[in-house]
Symmetry: C2
Subunit: 150 residues, 2 copies
């Protein structure tokens, strides 16, 4: 993707520069699921090996994944989510939930539940001031701190 001329006017664009291609989000999903080794990921996704190598190294460069040895005798590496990577979970979950609602039909592959009580979770917006959940229609967007107008 061509550089948009310095800082993106929208954080979505910036985020997509890092994870916005056909495979990267799937690689991250695997990382969340515990699929962390090169061959494992490759087989799970059916991604070309060279492309996988490229995506992994970019994710490491961006600090989303971390490459670390998981055994010594033959040194083998795995790719683990960093805290920065783990912070992507709401995004992955949002994509999953959209697929559940609009694509999956009868067969919802995975449900997220509250660890302690087992209840399926909801993902929402919250206004701490009003102490209430906020529907998408009640959201307004405001320009943030000092930046040239669009």
């Amino acid at each position: 993707m061509p550089d948009e001329g310095g800082l993106p006017d929208c954080s979505i664009a910036g985020t997509l520069e890092i994870i916005g291609d056909r495979w990267t989000i799937l690689i991250l999903r695997d990382a969340f699921r515990g699929v962390r080794r090169f061959d494992e990921i490759q087989q799970d996704l059916g991604i070309a090996r060279n492309v996988l190598a490229d995506r992994l190294s970019k994710l490491v460069d961006h600090g989303v994944l971390e490459k670390r040895p998981y055994q010594d005798r033959p040194v083998r590496y795995e790719y683990r989510l960093t805290p920065k990577g783990i912070d992507l979970s709401p995004a992955l979950v949002a994509l999953m939930r959209w697929g559940d609602k609009h694509l999956a039909g009868d067969d919802i592959p995975t449900v997220l539940v509250h660890d302690s009580c087992g209840t399926p979770l909801d993902q929402t917006f919250i206004c701490w001031e009003c102490d209430t959940t906020v529907a998408p229609s009640a959201i307004r967007s405001k320009p943030g701190r000092h930046r040239h107008a669009s």
Copy 2:
């Protein structure tokens, strides 16, 4: 992307088949921001015209966008989000928030606020049983193989 054999084992994969390419999410972001006409989108994103035409028609095919005339005398069309498309907002917001936190530094381009009180919003998981927000670390995923009445 090759069909993964009928049922994706994960709704993320299914969702990405529809919106998981370099431009589509940006097109949707524009739709949310009110950028809805062909030339407007094309200029805003710098996307190639043929690619834009292709993405728009695919989004219409999938029922995420809707093509409708916005004037008659010369018939002109715009692309509007359907309810299905609007349902993607949590995903877009999650991507935006990640960019805000990890990429933008001091300079947060856009802030989402509660329409009625102006307070910045939070995006969280909620357990209605416990009536509490749930941190990502307290989320467990469960296979959801069977019908979960809609």
